[in-house]
């Protein structure tokens, strides 16, 4: 690790790379807090409606695809593992390991989206779109499904952004345009883990209701 590498990774207005890394981590955390509030607001809507219409929500929850949901949870948890290893490896300067795990992360993220696509397809085939002709009798089950679509889609959007970020940084790293000291890896990893945490909560809310 050359001194010049350190200098190149250092950007205005920071005075030291260490401070810059701390700053990036902290800034990302603050942003993640913000993201948490957004999903928190949606979970609040879910919680209130569930409190008002427990039976309808149980009935609605029975119709989601548990298999797809569980597989996707496993995929995402694994991607968090590769992401964590990838960012640590980059920090330690282990280029091969970092590139491999980051690529694996991208692949797992895409797998998640693909499985999600199959799942959406099945949901649509079952007619689980709120509106006239909705298959469930309880009116409030449509609220459950409306929230299902909005929250999972918003999560998928976040994951897509995550895949984009990891792809860009991995490419730059591979092309030697981005140094391994760059704080971007740590920042992206934090974001990726937050997207994972959000899914960890969406999973019981949408897939585990009304199974017993």
């Amino acid at each position: 690790m050359s001194v010049s590498g350190t200098a190149e990774a250092l950007h205005e207005p920071w005075r030291s790379l260490r401070r810059q890394r701390e700053g990036t981590s902290f800034g990302t955390w603050v942003f993640l807090g913000s993201e948490l509030m957004m999903f928190g607001g949606l979970v609040l809507i879910y919680a209130v409606n569930r409190a008002l219409h427990p039976d309808a929500f149980t009935a609605g929850g029975r119709e989601t695809s548990l298999i797809y949901g569980t597989v996707n949870t496993a995929v995402l948890l694994t991607s968090s593992l590769t992401m964590a290893v990838g960012s640590e490896a980059a920090r330690a300067g282990l280029r091969r390991l970092a590139l491999r795990t980051l690529l694996a992360t991208i692949a797992l993220g895409c797998t998640f989206l693909a499985v999600k696509g199959f799942e959406y397809n099945e949901d649509i085939a079952k007619g689980m779109i709120p509106g006239p002709g909705f298959p469930l009798e309880e009116p409030a089950a449509q609220i459950f499904w409306a929230l299902y679509w909005i929250m999972t889609a918003l999560h998928a959007l976040h994951l897509t952004v995550g895949i984009g970020l990891v792809s860009i940084f991995t490419y730059q790293y591979w092309k030697l345009e981005r140094l391994h000291q760059s704080p971007a890896f740590e920042g992206t990893a934090l974001y990726w883990h937050l997207v994972d945490i959000i899914w960890i909560f969406l999973y019981p809310l949408f897939y585990l209701m009304g199974r017993s």
């Binding site: 701390e22 490896a89 002709g133 945490i197 585990l208 209701m209 199974r211």
Partner: protein
């Protein structure tokens, strides 16, 4: 040079050794929560599922997101959002749970809306 200094793992082996047990625990918990969902516990099902979700989230936050490192600033940022979520939930539910029943939504069906699309046949 080092990043944040304090005994961070530097070899591939060490990095994997720190991360894989967390992942294993997460996967185990996933299996557990999925299985428990089929055990009839009444309202306990939700509690159990959410409790496991909290543990999983903590695992990710503490180990993958490095909250285990002694940096009070990061913990503060994480805790702030949780505290504010608490504000939001508590005060909203202070309304929802204390309304008299006629003031809850769904008491009457507004006339000009389309009849809700219940596929069932009218029972009479």
């Amino acid at each position: 040079m080092s990043g944040l200094g304090e005994n961070l793992p530097q070899t591939a082996r060490e990095i994997w050794r720190r991360a894989v047990p967390v992942w294993a625990a997460l996967t185990l918990l996933l299996g557990l929560t999925c299985g428990l969902a089929f055990v009839p516990l009444g309202s306990g099902n939700v509690m159990v599922a959410l409790f496991i979700a909290v543990i999983k989230a903590l695992l990710v936050a503490v180990f993958f997101m490095h909250l285990i490192r002694p940096d009070p600033l990061l913990r503060l940022a994480g805790a702030a959002a949780l505290l504010w979520l608490l504000f939001m939930f508590t005060l909203t539910f202070s309304d929802i749970l204390t309304r008299p029943r006629p003031m809850q939504p769904g008491t009457v069906t507004p006339r000009t809306f389309d009849t809700p699309a219940a596929s069932g046949v009218r029972a009479f």
